[in-house]
Symmetry: none
Subunit: 186 residues, 4 copies
DNA sequence: GATGAATGAGATTTCATTCAT
DNA sequence: TATGAATGAAATCTCATTCAT
């Protein structure tokens, strides 16, 4: 499955033939279909594993006492992950594939919901603990962060000059301001 | 070709067969290949036409006297465009295809550069006219806006509950703050 | 399609690969699938063409003035057809395939009904014209003849020593007796 | 193997995969191939077991004192067996497979010969005992009965409205007449 | 210019069979 | 004996592209 990941990241789901994958994996086609009933199952397995990583990452962030620290760390993790070619490529492949395969879409939407609700949860926890202004609309801010996250992944892929890390200071200040509430809220 | 656009938006570049396209277009395969030497040319033509729309849009924005008005309008146009299913789908298809086909990537990168430099130009013009703080890093802000734009397109596609328009007030305030300079700059 | 017939008769539907058929037909696989969307369609086309032959044959028999002459001729035609290797082989293949593929079964059942009702019609016409005893149960006799017809096809295939023609005199006498009515009816 | 029988009857020899059979049998493929060297051996074993049943049935019929009683009983047994879905399906599968696999054909032909010669033997015994006219051509009548038997199996499979039992009275009268000799012989 | 029949390489998937454990 | 992971040949079907008409 690690081989499939590599192939898919490099060439995309539909441009990676079963022959490519089995060659990289060093197994026969029969063996491949012994473990995965069809190519879609392979794709779904990879989407699911991405989801597990998201969940794992969120559970670690949730243990950080200060909500702002947690979110700042998240921004940094995203910037790092976006710079990882394979992770980035897979994210875009999954987005594209979601448009066609309803099963992929469902799984990807689950992953997405986990992340978004995780962010929302972090913010709410921050409000509860008094670390974030109680005028903040947690759902809206979570959506805003999700846009940025998706955007960073996209940018890295499209614009070779884009360095996620360069965006961090600006985003941190904006996030700080948003969480502080004040004039910024809708 | 409007038929190809429809097919590509609906099913993706690789899932739309020539047969699909020629059926929707109501022409024979021979005729199709008379106008486009191969399938890739069809894809490139569509990517190019997207680019023309971007350029057209920017030229109109450049004529607006107040840089902030222009950028606010841009935010709104993006929010509207992202909500258009076909435009959104095509954007994602192009992003995915760019990862494999260098010709597509080159063309898409050109489109991207046009937009990014257009934004940067708007901001610089704003600085020159004194509408934007001269402490603002135009390139950085343009990149930040590009992230958000890409992110909004992505969000619409992934999260059915996401409404681009809901994000506008927040983004407008943030943009305003960023352009005003002050503490926000890196 | 004549090539497919040959292959199917020789090796059966599932033992004839597309490659076999296209080789015999002297065309490429692409061409084959240009005319038939899939292998099943090829099978169905052949089953349908068998049905047309049955209908044609029956329409000719229906024009014979004497019902007994018509039925006697039918017995002879069956005996001749059963001796034709390809026709015989196809009949058995169709019977076997009908057990699995509902579409084939439906078409084969149609063919079968046409023949059975044709026989019944011949007998009823004979009764109407006074050529056959009006104590005869036309449906039952038609069923009996159908059994014999199927049986002859089967026998030829299983028992190399079986000569359909040798059975004709016996069957003609039995048929004559049945149609004459008398003690024989149920 | 009872599981294989079930699968073969339901789906046919070539449509039943080894995986199907071993699942129904509740054993592993390794175990299956421990007992049967290959799939063909499984088919042959089933064909052979059919033959044993035929032989058993005949030996019981041979013990009946009156030849006509024995043959009448046989007609009834056939009508009952033909109505048994699995037995019927297998008979057709064997007929179809015989056309391709010489080993199957040889075994099936043996079974067939046993039955035909058994019938012939019953009739000859009847002649010897004076229960059947000595003008009767035993071989020919046996062939005629075999045709009917095969035909009944085929009819049941093709024509859902066909009830073997309905045919019995007619066949019994015809058989009676044939065995009595007289005008009916060739 | 327009057509659509023909091509054939290549894709996914199945399945009988083997063999190390 | 029993297992089931591994094999790889072969099957069906797709599709971008060509070219004679």
């Amino acid at each position: 499955m690690v081989a499939a990941r590599k192939c898919f990241a490099r060439n995309g789901f539909h441009q990676s033939s079963i022959a490519d994958i089995r060659t990289v994996a060093g197994i026969s086609s029969g063996t491949l279909f012994h473990y995965f009933p069809n190519k879609q199952a392979l794709v779904l397995a990879i989407v699911a594993s991405e989801g597990e990583q998201v969940a794992l990452c969120l559970s670690q962030l949730a243990e950080i006492a200060d909500c702002r620290d947690a979110l700042n760390l998240l921004l940094q993790l995203i910037a790092e992950l976006a710079a990882d070619g394979d992770a980035n490529a897979l994210a875009i492949e999954i987005a594209a594939e979601s448009r066609r395969d309803p099963d992929v879409r469902a799984l990807a939407a689950d992953n997405d919901t986990v992340l978004r609700e995780g962010l929302e949860g972090l913010i709410r926890a921050g409000i509860a603990r008094g670390q974030v202004s109680n005028t903040v609309d947690a759902a809206l801010v979570a959506q805003w962060l999700m846009s940025w996250i998706d955007g960073v992944f996209s940018r890295v892929s499209v614009d070779l000059a884009f360095k996620p890390m360069d965006q961090l200071p600006l985003m941190r200040q904006l996030l700080d301001m948003v969480l502080t509430g004040g004039r910024v809220m809708s």
